[in-house]
Amino acid sequence: MSKLALRDEILLQVEKPARYIGNEVNGIIKDKSQVDIRVAMCFPDVYEIGMSHLGIQILYDMFNRFDDVWCERVYSPWVDLDKKMREENIPLFVLESQEPVKDMDFLAITIQYEMCYTNILQILELSHIPLRAKDRSLEHPIVIGGGPCVYNPEPIAAFFDMFYIGEGETRYRELLDLYKECRKQEKSREDFLREASKIPGIYVPMFYRVEYHEDGTIQSIGPVEEGIPEKILKEVEMDVSHTYYPEKPVVPFIKVTQDRVVLEIQRGCIRGCRFCQAGQIYRPVRERDLDMLKNYALAMLQNTGHEEISLSSLSSSDYSQLPELIDFLIEKCREKKINISLPSLRIDAFSLDVMSKVQDVKKSSLTFAPEAGSQRLRNVINKGLTEEAILNGAALAFQGGWTRVKLYFMLGLPTETEEDIKGIAELANKIAAVFFETVPKEKRINGKVQIVASTSFFIPKPFTPFQWASMCTKEEFLEKAYATRTAIKGQLNQKSIKYNWHEADISVLEGVFARGDRKIADVIERAYKKGCIFDAWSEFFKGDVWMEAFEELGIDIAFYTTRKRELDEIFPWDFIDCGVSKEFLQREWKKALEETVSPNCRAKCQGCGANRFGGGVCFENTGKGYGNGNEGKD
């Protein structure tokens, strides 16, 4: 690469110019005259966040293994550069070739959280691509969305030509071949999109119509033409041990959030917490082969030179060969002075032993995520963690030298009462008491224990048993946060407990987007036009501007958040099949209200429907899936 898209004057005036120059270790440069398809892979947030995302690294590696494709990266320009680009009408560019995004064949955007929706519009506008799919022509890239948020793509459907529902490893080759074929035959954009909509996992919004009841709920969603599928089943890579994974991840120059090798050990989670979307949409649980992980760990460390490796999964303790993997890593990493980071481990004797080997106990903290303050409410949300397990784990940890504990809770969960909120404070207090009981005075470092309790606000998400739940208002959320604070202040060990809570107005908005329908697109565009951007960054979040946008368009927030939903309501996302059945989610919702827990996938199949994919945890041990015959009989 010889020429940069931005002049020196601009690069020297913006914060961290390294965000925009490309040229990183393991970045892929191809001869553009030798490829047929150019793909811009985008994470619509700042470089340091986007570069930390594993999914993009996997897809970047996959696309670039195709000889006929050159995949390059693009992230949101930070606000300083955003301003300059608008002033000077500089088109947004991809990092590798520094060429405009608008000259690519595809713009693929991964959508990991709802609060990046305005950044998607920023990417489109700075790229000089019309915001609405209907205004685009052959000269514009095909804009495709993927990632967890596209399990309800409706609020942003107007901005996308298509969505890829599910895991990216399976269908892109087919889509690219179709694109090449359509171009050869000089087919129209619409004809290509029509053909694409017949590929499994691909949703093309323009071929679906939504009809509403008078009360605003949905009457029907369906294809507008013959031959377009009525339901779109998510795509799953069933053979996670023999698929694309980057041996040479791109190594950024500047420090990014995830400045380390990331080893994804499994997909999915057996736990079935009822608030958790990831726990449902990534079913069934699929473990990667131990030897594959060992080989990739070594190769990635060698090829990046990173000084740290992290295991990634929703619940690492549930990976069946974790002890072997960790022993291997400890041995190899000791030689090379590489740190091991182990997030999402359940705190018990095994994990504490491992952590004491790989971390500086004095500097690290323990994390528990009880999510709710009382056992009753933990049963409602199906969070298997008991108070006894937490206190035992804490006692072991304090004996091992740890003095810092982080606790994560949610406020506003279905059926929550004052007692449950008090339970948060009491649990924090009991943990502090355990410290004073287990650690004799002379052994206390600085004489104290630090407990940080954090609460976020519960947001009902599509494809969870709580998709029927009402969400709290901003005022209710804040009252709950104040009640938590007051309860903590009233505890004997309150001096050892620090309390943080999340911003309520951001949560309300996230709630609207999470369960929103197509009408929300106008609000997003209006707020963006009024200056909303980087909404996930509290310093840029403009709650009042968002409220103005809703008011001006006459869109009622309560309809999407607090409204009670009937069991037979058609949801905006119901035309997507995420692998688990609506019947299963309804069963779980009813059990939640009865305060009944469901065992995890390994203990007893709950018949969620994910066994139809023919593999993973559903077929462990039995070889034929212990889903069969057991469904729902608990």
Binding site: M1, S2, L4, D8, E9, L11, L12, P17, A18, I21, G22, N23, E24, V25, V251, F253, I254, K255, L301, Q302, N303, T304, G305, H306, E307, K336, K337, N339, D360
Partner: protein, 248 residues
């Protein structure tokens, strides 16, 4: 994977000279340090680490290079445990460099040699005015007059105060090199920790003396090399930092 080769039984100090060009001029000093830590791992250099719970590579950089500048003479020192010769190490490192980073020399230092940072006495720069930013007066002629004046007073701002300083003793050489386009300024200035002078400061004083203001983007600056002083008190003798090193 260990490098097969001579095991000295003790650590050996190695000085690495590199060039930084192209897009790499936008990577700041701290990130260049991180870049080399990772590059040394990728190249399988048997580098020595500090003791303690979070060991780090023993590494010393000569003089931080400002963002926007390129260089043909940057240095860092590392300590290694085993090796297969300087040429092997240079090749290994060059194999893992990105475009715009090139290893120029690898030499061995005596055990008692001062580290790269402490050795820096001077740096040589070439300075050009970017197109459209040339001063409005006959600057080549005036520059030499400016350089030959008995003193060059500037105000140096620190965090706490402003102080008046004579730059003259810190500028060891200043000359003009004729090229097909505009002349290029070459200057050798003090770069030691006690008296570091940035070429921009000299040029700012020059323009100010001629009633003009220096725009922050006017100059294109290349650091040509970094020097140690092997002379005596009052009689400096500047040699490139790798001239102190030996072949191995």
């Amino acid at each position: 994977m260990k490098i097969l080769g001579k095991d000295m039984g003790t650590e050996m100090k190695v000085r690495i000279k590199f060039a930084k060009s192209g897009a790499m001029r936008f990577i700041g000093h701290l990130d260049i340090m991180r870049y080399f830590q990772k590059a040394i791992r990728r190249a399988d250099i048997d580098v020595a680490y500090s003791e303690g719970f979070s060991p780090h590579q023993i590494m010393s950089f000569a003089a931080p290079l400002g963002v926007g500048l390129t260089s043909n003479g940057e240095y860092l020192d590392i300590e290694i445990k085993t090796h297969a010769g300087a040429e092997d190490m240079k090749q290994r490192l060059n194999k893992v460099m990105v475009e715009g980073m090139e290893i120029l020399t690898v030499t061995m230092l005596k055990e008692d040699a001062k580290n790269a940072m402490a050795s820096v006495a001077a740096a040589e720069y070439t300075v050009r005015f970017r197109q459209g930013y040339e001063p409005g007066f006959d600057w080549p002629k005036r520059l030499m007059e400016f350089y030959h004046s008995p003193s060059i007073m500037v105000t140096k701002k620190t965090k706490k105060s402003e102080m008046s300083l004579d730059l003259k003793p810190y500028i060891y050489q200043l000359s003009l090199q004729e090229t097909e386009k505009a002349p290029v300024i070459r200057m050798l200035v003090n770069a030691s920790s006690s008296g570091n002078v940035k070429p921009g400061l000299v040029m700012e004083a020059f323009l100010k003396a001629n009633g003009e203001e220096l725009s922050p983007f006017a100059l294109e600056i290349i650091r040509e090399d970094t020097y140690a002083d092997t002379g005596k008190e009052g009689e400096p003798h500047f040699v490139p930092l790798d001239a102190i090193g030996m072949e191995f």
